[in-house]
Symmetry: C2
Subunit: 383 residues, 2 copies
């Protein structure tokens, strides 16, 4: 057979964080597209929309409450939360009429919050990077609000074990309101994804073969610190597109979504927002702005994505060396669906649902494309 | 706390097949929807479209080839296949310039095919149930074609280890052509999803605690046969909506998608299409028609979904008791995205991507809704 060429030959890549595979079909980018088109979001929204339930001073979705006249960020409890704080009884054998080992369920408790990023209805994080806005003045407050919530929610709700911060941006990603905002769901358990990742980090830390790798606080091998430093050490840095003093942004080797992004600390273990210095938070603010702005510039549209922070679960009183949270490395995932243009997305359907995820362009091709985009927002350039 | 009520209280359900959780928030069905709307597919398509690259006699997507003047089903190799049959060299240490244990990839070989279900451009499986069409005359041939491909692809391509049959229906599910068709991807490895399921089936078969359960061919406990019989044995059959001599259709206890469906044999272990009798194939044809027709009738629209068959991987020469394929039970998954109407879908984004899958209405509520739908197609009733 021919020598393997990753830009030409179908191959599977291994994701060491979730321990799963992705099928890459680099030759398939030539395929014509005759399927569904997305509607790109109307680019020019008003700065204030009287019908928006997130704008300052407006009535909320429930109808009863009114938003504060906020001037920076604004957090409130979700009026249609997927979780509730009420304690219900554990499900005793047979109690729910489904007494069989194949029918297992468990009560779930939690609270859900919404965080408005900015009073303006029409300013996304991507735009807050470009004059007259600055990451320091307009994105740093978002990170500070996340930090407060990450600390105050468990303090006020002692049952909470995990705080999931995320943003759905754009209607293609199920976002029902263009006003820049994210969500925070807190739960009395660690959900699947962070649980899987923490277990991988723990296994990596305790594998003697990894002793030469970058170390965490406790001197143990760190999966994500090793990966961040590895990406920075390679000739031409094929998957890196942004780096500053504390953080690096890559299209991970094992990316599933076409322009998937992973933001990682590259200097030290940072378990969570609570352990981040002011300087690191500023670096992170600049990084978030740069990532979002470059994504918008790829197709000169407001680039839809889901982004989410994985970090340390809420410390429990057990503590000790073996606590899963001790292995946590803060990081941010971006899962953006667009593939070829502002209107043509990648569908993870059919084979992806029944078999395993599949992608066309390689991570390296995607990173090169993002790297070639300017860090000045296209709307600022146009006007 | 209050006694647990699965129709009122958020809870997690356990999926024993993929060994993962889904978060259920039954109270959340009251949430208003202000987000994206799907465009329901144009209902009245012509029986023949001269621009369709799947209609009989027409030019194909590549442009070079022409389709046969087929009168029943028609299979051909995908002109833009995600996999190729060429043998490439294994990736030796360092060969792809990525020599590091965190950067692992493996060549993947395979062939991809398209199967047109019917010469008519505008007849889906859902409609082939209703006069003048019958499942026996118009759906059974699809099952026979799948059976031929399931057997001939590995026979002609000895490297093939797994054959994934699936259908993406509707533009909301990334389908680029409304002409009724499915795909068949064959691979030189077992992809993640069937691999996970087979491992669960094997673990179940070898767990002594399950000895009282329904047995497979070899007298071992069968996860999916036990589950099928359990669903049929419960008072009021809360998740069953269709049953015939050989197959049952349920909204599984652990469903993620709003109207997710699982079709299962309920009499015996059927490892694959190759082991199915003619009578069973006819039962399956009737079941496929009934499922698709009921789904269409929920919102009186052509209901989008991805469906896929999981069955026995290609038997290798190793054979023997411990072969994973010996544990296989044939089954079909349907993952339909619609939630509230023909235009409002469920998005598995944000929390679902970063945390774990979440659903609003319960599996039992969804099954009751499907059960209440007629099995005569709404278009046939209208006309
Ligand atoms: O092959 P098609 O129908 O053009 O493409 C569709 O199905 C494939 C297999 O599920 C997916 O990889 C594509 O994302 C989807 O758009
Ligand atoms: O809460 P929202 O923005 O109305 O809803 C959106 O985000 C949620 C959390 O990711 C998802 O469960 C919903 O499917 C999605 O539409």
């Amino acid at each position: 057979g021919a020598p393997f060429d990753p830009t030409e030959h179908p191959h599977r890549r291994w994701n060491p964080l979730t321990r799963s595979f992705v099928l890459c079909s680099p030759h398939r980018t030539k395929r014509p597209w005759q399927g569904a088109q997305e509607t790109p979001s109307k680019e020019r929204l008003p700065a204030y929309d009287e019908k928006c339930y997130l704008c300052p001073g407006n009535a909320r979705a429930g109808g009863q409450l009114k938003n504060e006249d906020y001037e920076s960020t604004f957090a409130f409890e979700n009026d249609f939360a997927a979780l509730r704080p009420d304690k219900v009884q554990d499900i005793a054998e047979g109690q729910d009429g489904n007494a069989h080992p194949l029918l297992r369920s468990f009560p779930a408790r939690g609270r859900c919050y919404v965080l408005c990023f900015h009073p303006s209805h029409n300013l996304t994080i991507a735009q807050l990077t470009t004059a007259p806005y600055t990451a320091k003045e307009h994105i740093l407050p978002i990170i500070q609000a996340w930090t407060r919530l990450y600390q105050s929610i468990p303090a006020d709700n002692p049952f909470v074990r995990y705080v999931q911060i995320f943003e759905n941006k754009g209607s293609a990603m199920g976002c029902s309101n263009p006003h820049p905002h994210g969500q925070i769901w807190s739960l009395d358990y660690i959900p699947e994804e962070p649980q899987k990742e923490l277990e991988s980090m723990k296994a990596y830390a305790n594998d003697e073969l990894n002793m030469g790798c970058a170390k965490d606080d406790r001197g143990r091998p760190s999966l994500l610190l090793t990966y961040a430093q590895l990406e920075l050490s390679l000739a031409d840095r094929p998957r890196v597109f942004e780096v500053n003093d504390d953080f690096v942004a890559v299209v991970p080797y094992w990316a599933v979504w076409p322009f998937e992004v992973l933001v990682l600390p590259h200097k030290r273990q940072i378990a969570s927002l609570a352990e981040m210095s002011q300087e690191e938070k500023l670096s992170l603010a600049e990084m978030l702005g740069a990532v979002a702005c470059r994504l918008d510039n790829i197709f000169e549209c407001s680039f839809p994505y889901s982004m989410g922070i994985h970090q340390r679960p809420v410390a429990t009183s057990q503590g000790g060396q073996d606590e899963l949270g001790d292995y946590a490395q803060f990081h941010i995932h971006y899962y953006p669906p667009l593939l070829r243009s502002a209107t043509v997305r990648k569908f993870l359907v059919g084979f992806e649902m029944m078999g395993e995820p599949q992608r066309d362009l390689t991570a390296e091709q995607a990173a090169a494309r993002i790297r070639s985009c300017p860090t000045t927002h296209y709307l600022a350039v146009e006007s």
